[in-house]
Amino acid sequence: MRVTVSIICFLFILNAAFIKKNVQNVSLAKWVVEKSSSLNIQGETNINSFQCDVTEYLRADTLVYLKNDLTKKLSFTNSSLVVDIRRFDCHNRFITDDFRSALKADENPNLKILFLTIDQFSNNCNNQVVKGIVDVQLARTVKRTEIDYTVKCLPGNRIQMNGSHVFSFSDFNLKAPRKLAGLIRTKDQITVNFQLFFRAL
């Protein structure tokens, strides 16, 4: 009996020490999303290729994360970017209207990117490539996605993160636009490129 109690006490102390050590290595930090952040979507039709841009991020959003200094992993807490789909400009009024309509912009005007984690993020970030996981929410459908970011540290405590990912309309239960009995078609795959600028607080 005495031996059992001793083992339990030992394990408890060991566990507490481990938790304390982990907590000591975790810090809370914030990034403010800068206005200059942009996002574009590249797609192809059987006529042409097209590009739809949102060149300004007008919301004053802040990303909050816990950084583990041991693993260099960032774990975000309820941090997201929200893009108004109605602000997409495809530089051709017909394609712009059709693209917004294909994304069901009237019913669900927001494209939401919920940041979950970023691995191996260090402060020495000169074109460092890191992996991150995000939830992309579009047209009431959420798709969990792994994204490779290229991270660059800029003067003034600023960070630039560029990334790109290929999605399909079908990932979000959407249909790629087709007109004239299917003779005019948009390819199902679209490439989403983003250039995010953050200011560390």
């Binding site: 006529i47 394609i95 059709d98 636009p177 007109k179 004239l180 009995a181 299917g182 003779l183």
Partner: protein, 135 residues
């Protein structure tokens, strides 16, 4: 009756194939105009797709009736008779309806002109088929 049916069917198939050929040629040579098909005034592909592919056969019925009724007044060789059919169809049917379309629907003049040419060429092809099979 069998001859009439074969002429109608042949004209429909020829116009369908020719129409698809002209459509893809239009996309290739005039992509800016073809972009306009993404306009919201055009129906999304779906349940009514079949109606698009049936249109040459509807046109073939109309042109066949017209041919049987008036072929006597078209004199000359096959090509000349086909040209006359195409021009009559263009002036009597296409021009007024496309004029009305342009006035009522947000499509460009360039697009309307492509439809006019498309219709004339289709009618010309049907004219050749009819002049050959039911002279």
């Amino acid at each position: 009756m069998n001859k009439v049916f074969i002429a109608w069917l042949t004209a429909g198939i020829v116009m369908l194939v020719l129409g698809l050929g002209m459509f893809y040629a239009g996309i290739y040579f005039f992509p800016k105009i073809a972009d306009e098909y993404f306009s919201p005034v055009f129906r999304r592909a779906g349940k009514t797709d079949w109606t698009f592919y049936v249109h040459p056969f509807i046109l073939a019925v109309a042109l066949k009736w017209f041919w049987e009724r008036y072929k006597g007044i078209f004199k000359g060789g096959i090509l000349l008779r086909a040209v006359e059919v195409a021009l009559v169809y263009g002036i009597v049917a296409l021009l007024p309806i496309l004029w009305l379309t342009f006035s009522a629907i947000d499509v460009s003049l360039k697009m309307i002109i492509t439809w006019f040419i498309y219709g004339i060429v289709q009618a010309f092809a049907a004219g050749i088929v009819f002049a050959k099979l039911n002279p």
